[in-house]
């Protein structure tokens, strides 16, 4: 599942975590690397066709059957405003648990497991971001490049139906 192009950096490989370290799963969306807390990740699976829910935001791709549980799937690329992913079987869905809900994130590929010293996580710099900064919770330097830490809570608290005309329930 690791991206072949990703350079295996000694300090970023999976290893036993000590209290001061945290582990993240990093993945690729377009040209950028993102990461989420490994504790939130339930499972990683290949893309399969979803059942489309009517009248949703375009990044809401529909629902999947995950061993009997109905799981909504979101297109992260589209969530970041960069258009729909043309999902194929090589694309990956990361199943995460956020606020007691199980949701799936469609990404291009999973890259690595990062073990990071908590003090190395830097705040999001006050600079121009390609992604809405509300979705970001920090930056992890990996060698020369950096991985953007996502805030899953903020990603979904901005309710998906916000853009729709109100429909009386």
């Amino acid at each position: 599942m690791a991206d072949p192009q990703d350079q295996q950096n000694p300090e970023t490989t999976a290893g036993p975590s000590s209290p001061a370290t945290r582990q993240f799963i990093s993945f690729r969306v377009g040209d950028e690397e993102f990461a989420i807390d490994i504790m939130a990740v339930r499972e990683i699976k290949g893309w399969t066709a979803t059942t489309v829910l009517p009248n949703q935001q375009n990044y809401m791709l529909g629902v999947l059957n995950l061993r009997g549980t109905i799981v909504p799937i979101f297109d992260l690329r589209c969530r970041f405003g960069r258009g729909l992913t043309q999902a194929t079987a090589t694309h990956v869905v990361i199943i995460v648990s956020v606020d007691d809900r199980i949701v799936g994130l469609l990404v291009d590929a999973v890259s690595d497991i990062l073990t990071v010293n908590a003090v190395d996580i830097r705040p999001v710099p006050d600079m121009e971001q390609t992604v809405d900064s509300a979705f970001l919770s920090g930056i992890i330097p990996v060698g020369e490049s950096m991985v953007v830490l996502l805030s899953l809570e903020n990603l979904f608290n901005q309710t998906p139906s916000a853009g729709l005309p109100a429909i009386a329930a």
Binding site: T50, V52, P54, N65, R67, I70, A168
Partner: protein, 703 residues
Amino acid sequence: MSGSNFGSDELAQFRKTFFEECAELLVDLEERLGALHPYTQDVEGLNAIFRAVHSIKAGAGAFNYTGLVRFAHTFEALLDRLRDGKAELDERTLPCLISAGDVLAALVDTVREGKTADEAFGADVRDELESLMDGASGGASPVPAAKADAAPTGPQGYRIVFRPDSELFRHANEPLYLIRELKTLGTLEIACDTSRLPDLAGLKTDEAYLSWTMTLRTDKPRAAIAEVFEFVEDECELIIEPLADAVEATPEAVPQAVTIAPAAVAVPVAAPTVERAAPHPEGKAEQKASVASSIRVELARVDRLVNMVGELVITQAMLAQQFNENDVGQGGHKTLQGFEDLAVLTRELQECVMAIRMQPVKSIFARMPRLVREVSAKLGKTVHLEMSGEQTEVDKTVIEELADPLTHMIRNAVDHGIESTEERIAAGKSPDGTIHLSAQHVGSNILIHVEDDGAGIDRERLLRKAIERGIVSANAKPTGEEIDELIFSPGFSTAAAVTDVSGRGVGMDVVRRNIINLGGRVQVQSTLGKGTRFTLVIPLTLAVLDGMIVAVGEEKYILPLTSIVESIRPERGQIRALTGGYEVASIRGEFVRLVHLARVFGVPQAVGEPWNGLVVLVEQANGTKIGVVVDELIGQQQVVIKSLQDNFDPVAGISGATILGNGRVALIVDIEQLTRLADRPHPTPLPNTDAPSSLTDELANVA
């Protein structure tokens, strides 16, 4: 007394159990009381009622609820006389028993809320109960106060002679334990008289050969010693004398005195614990009496089981489908047969599991006689309630949700349905009104009828009021059935005066909402002057649904089978477009509004014209029929309902989801929301929202 020695946590737990139990007992009590008839001897019923009251009393005693104990005691005493035939169940007794049941329930409520009932509360009923007992042999024995110990202190000690009969052993008493118990009261010297012991050959294991003469030095009163022998006083010779008087008594043989050590010394007692042959070989058939035994299981466990069986059903369907898709080679037919057997078994297993959650509706029905009694008494009407089908079973969750709407409907029937006695007489009807409440299974639904023989719905007046209130426009020409439907309009009450019986603001609209929330429907049929009948159709369970799978474009949806009237492939000429984007189909002279699922849900590549697809005629809860346009019907299937909302927000037009045999998720369509969805402006702003949306619009709009 009682509970005070328990820790507060345990006590709280016991109390919780007690009130749960009370609730069950009171439902049973009410039902049984309702089934009693004057001058009949329903011994079984009376026994059950007695037990219920008795259990409440016993529990109440444990928690020191003295008022409740006192009332239950009197109630129970009369019941005891009734079941023994010492008192008669006449027209005076029966209402009194019913009131007593009410008082008992109220007292339980009071103590549950941690309050103390007013002394006077229920006193009249208790007096009545007592007066009814007077005729019978003796009144209720008063609840005795705790016995006071007679002598405060005794003499220095007692001489005790204890000679057990063989009876004592037959009752499984053990002299050794009693002697040990005596020893806890003071210093005990005992002498065992073995003189009557035969030689081994003649020894009978259930005979008593030994006796004891003991000297107990203690300051305890005589009663304390007597209490030790309380259970055996009729099964032994027992002398308890103060020591002073006993000095020169029994000079004869006092054999060697032994003091019993605290650790049990093996005193040679007749061996009463040896197993004995059964003296009474009574028939054992009785113990195999046909009893539907039951266990209490946490609902959460049952739910898990239901879910897992649901998974099994899906997995089975998936396997079968995958197998069918592959070519059936040699030997395949056997496997196919295996799959069919598996399908049958799985289905049976599912039914068994669902049955665990099923309960008879009688738990709600049982509350109704009282309701009718109370409401009719308040209104000065005489109303009889007839019930049938109380044993009809429905899912527990459905039962819980059914109680409120049903209560409301019954109350309405007494209040608004049945006329006053004078009106009835004037109309040439029997002065007494009748309400019939019935339940029955029809397919996978439960059908509940609430039928009264009252005045029926006055359509003219109803329409006039609806127009007055702006619910219906003045120039509307609704049909009779449509007018009847108006009673389900929000906040609409047909009664000229809003009485305190039916309350304000809570109308049939709330009833309908409750029933719809259960996936059910409510309909009304009424004949002026003859009466009104409400019909509730509710699925037996909220966990599975009989569905029709339909295809729309690439998507598959499920329509609840209970809503489907028929499906038709319309001729082009049957379809007519109206202004405002409406489309209707003429079906046997009736115009039915069409709703395209593809348009409502924004599904691409679906059949655009109704005559190229299918129109599924469905009936909404309010009786309105609409035609749902789909591409084709796939088939009928029972599906396990899954919640979408566990992991996502509610989706308009979708009531839930299920997993099909191929593992894909299919959405269950919420019929009730379809018209509203079709009416609302299109999700994305279009230049002209009035225009019927075109396929290109849909496509542009699809994620």
